[in-house]
Amino acid sequence: MVLNEADTRDGSSDVEQLEKHNIIVTTLEKIWNWSRARSFWPLSYGCNCCPIEMMASGAARFDIARYGYEVFRASPRQADLLIVAGPITLKMAPVVKRVYEQMPSPKWVLAMGNCATSGGPFRDGYSILPGADTLFKVDIFVPGCPPRPEALFHGLLELKKKVERGDY
């Protein structure tokens, strides 16, 4: 838009002038992060108790759709959030790694439950990896065995703040 002479007379900058006309100036990256943080598409992956709480958080009482994160995808190629729910066994590790690599960037990882955080109660076992962060970078850890749906939401909202900041 073209600013007229009256707008620039008070010595304010061009950006401030634009805001007076209800035009917000930002960077594309900020807009993308703003929208990314409000619509994660989680991958429906899980292999133990935690996915049941994940399903419960998607069901009627807790209703993950209130936050806009309800689009659970079955294919990693359509998802941008991997919720690692459950223990990562040695047999499962290459599968999770491959699933993670199939997801398009930018992507985030939320480790749900004690097993995905540190190995949890099964840490002593011979067939368990001590946490998802041994495989890839994890953005948010949600403790609990299994975490309540409210705890999962808290983790997701923390991740939202992180993504909004562009800190990933």
């Binding site: 429906s44 133990n48 108790c49 009627a60 047999k91 499962m92």
Partner: protein
Amino acid sequence: MIETETYTINIGPQHPSTHGGLHVEAIMDGEEVKDAIVHVGYVHRSVEKIAESRTYAQFVPYASRLDYLASHLPTLGYVQAVEKLAGIIVPERAEYIRVIVSELSRIASHMIFVGSLAIDLGATTGMVYCFRDRERIMDMFEMSSGQRMIASYMRLGGISADLPESFYPAVESFINDLPGMIAEYHGLISGNEILQERCKDVGILSAQDAVAYGVTGPNLRASGVDYDLRRDDPYGIYPRFEFRVPTGQNGDSWDRFMVRIEEMEQSGRIIKQALRDMPSGEIQAKVPRILKPEKGREVYHRVESSKGELGFHLVSDGSDKPYRVHVRAPSFINLMVLPLICRGGKLQDVITNIATLDPVLGESDR
């Protein structure tokens, strides 16, 4: 029919319909399934080995995590096995409370079964209804034990705490509403013609095959074998209750579905009777803090879990830790009939069959 070159379709381990980490390798000829190879072990958490480095009491939370859909049932099996091993007598009131929470978790597990069958067959709304009703059971577990799903409520020789006052009105209103919930499932899910078409005459398991493979639980009863451990090899105080064991005729997916729905009603009956007869009194027997069963003793104890016969084999070496713990996992054994019932069917029937066999992989892989 023209035979063409076979090809393989991998279902899982990352797949929304595999109930955890199950991998089924379907060998296809056109759209017909020639063979299905089941790969398990993706959730193998070495529970049996961990048990050898835990004391008898410390293993209780691990037992809860075997079958996380009905966490009270494996706990019941484990604590009763240890009580058999050490000769502990449980107070009456604790026995009744155990029955109430066990049957509630059986209902919760079957609700997840109905919901996950619906979502596997493409009816997402069905899942929401079942989870809505299951939340009421989760509330009751939270009242009694503090945890929603994996309660670890039972202790060796009793239970961790008495039921709070708020539990009784909650369980009574739940039992009164249960017939209404089941009627709603019938109207919404089993009354749906698409679901009927996809379940009836799909995955037929004959009674002979079911017995030969060692299938137990609702899957066996759906094939027409009238066998329930709660009645035929009773444990705890189950002989005191009156209930019917529902059976099917054809052994197809539809019967497996209907048997579970009827079992929910029967569990409701048991809870009603238990609430009526429950005495007051102690909830915990005197158990030594360091429990050391006699050396060389071994027991096998089995309970009717929501999946089938769940057995615990314990061997004692005289120390405070078990020498060996073996779990007879019904899900694992039930899964072994999957190739048999999938052969000759279509690819979409594999999904129906996995859902109606109702495996829980945490227990199957241990």
